[in-house]
Symmetry: C2
Subunit: 225 residues, 2 copies
DNA sequence: GTTTAGGGTTAGACGGGTCTAAAACCGAAT
DNA sequence: ATTCGGTTTTAGACCCGTCTAACCCTAAAC
């Protein structure tokens, strides 16, 4: 019923919406999907016709409930696949994203369920990102907050590393930045770069702003919220 | 580089070519892909431009070597997926075809290899159909011959059940017609229907011509060829 | 050797998804 | 209040894969 491409747009909007909680601008979507703005505009018209987004001309879009459900379905597929590939097909967490992106639109409900069963109904993927539940109810706010919110001396535990770039992920893994590990914040530079030391690595790691932004952590003291 | 649809055409031509060894007609492809003939004609022009088929106007097409290689790749994907789904995700052999059809165009080389490894480099899929090898060399003639070639009293062993319809496959499984089992031919009706009894079932099975045609068997005496 | 039935091909249209170029709009700065 | 910069949308084009309608070819029948 919906094309792959439409699903991609909805997923992109959903993920942008997670970050900053405002209407999503055409140019952001264009950027995210590597497409020009006129292309986005025309796609948004179609999504609006189908009742999947609320659009206000010149002011961006938000997902309707229906649109969000579709997005959640796609994200669920994506993250289940990521989990399955690392768990059962020996993929490294850094490699998994591209493959899941290819497959996420082409699996049946049946397949989704069997994969979820094989994994024991997991709730997070290998990057620590929450897997939407099978009922596709919008999940609560994401775990933790960006590591950039903390400051020198803080001890935090990594919840999620949401970067997509395999190079970056390999680098992070090499320096002990993975979900579950403890990090001591050594420095937060004014231009946003975070330097830290992982409990599982000797060396310090420096995370330029763009990378640090994708590393979500919690403070171990107030871990239960 | 090649679209999914092009791959589908090449796969269809390949499989039609396996059956009867002549040029493949437009209408056969149209039938196989559930598409009209003009659509096929225009697609064949594109495939010809890309050097994937040899076309003679009004006389059908054959695959070029390059076209055959592409088809083999797709078939390899398809059959590896079928094998993996039954082996590791608890699918029944009757359900597996549709899912593999969806996924076959969207898996990476890497994924293909990991699946093949996980299965121990299998050479046949759950229906007994040969899986093209990783080097994509054209395989030898298929195993066995159609059960319709045999006659009353013959004992044969099922090599391959190449039907795609889940209903038919379930029916066959229920009556003990699966790769590896022995069949006694009870009757071959003039209109092509074959009646047989499986060594693993009490009841007789009758296979209408269309179905029987997809059941390939070997005679156990001359099993090694 | 003509005719003719039937399948194949051309012609032209359409929707999807994309682009570039040009016009329209918003909002901030003067 | 006006202008200006930057973003968004409109306009128009293109390719893909598909369709229907009309035309054409082949091969078999006479």
């Amino acid at each position: 019923m919906l094309s792959d491409v439409m699903e991609d747009y909805l997923k992109a909007i959903y993920q942008l919406q997670r970050d900053h909680d405002e209407r999503i601008k055409t140019s952001e979507i264009a950027e995210a999907l590597d497409v020009t703005s006129p292309t986005v505009t025309s796609m948004l018209e179609k999504l609006e016709d189908r009742g999947l987004v609320d659009r206000e001309k010149y002011r961006g879009v938000t997902l309707t409930d229906e649109g969000e459900t579709v997005a959640l379905e796609v994200v669920r597929h994506h993250r289940l696949l990521e989990a399955y590939l690392t768990e059962h097909l020996d993929y490294d967490w850094s490699e998994v994203h591209a493959e899941a992106d290819r497959l996420e639109h082409h699996i049946s409900e049946d397949f989704e369920q069997r994969v979820a069963d094989a994994l024991g109904q997991p709730t997070v993927d290998p990057h620590g990102s929450p897997i939407p539940s099978a009922d596709l109810e919008p999940p609560d706010r994401p775990n933790g907050e960006s590591v950039t919110e903390f400051s020198e001396g803080d001890i935090v535990v990594v919840e999620e590393v949401a970067d997509r770039d395999p190079e970056v992920l390999s680098y992070l893994a090499d320096h002990g930045v993975e979900p579950g590990v403890e990090l001591e914040i050594l420095e937060v530079a004014p231009f946003g770069m975070v330097t830290a030391r992982s409990s599982t690595s000797e060396d310090d790691v420096s995370l330029p702003e763009g990378v640090a932004h994708h590393v979500r952590v919690t403070s171990p003291v107030e871990a239960e919220s």
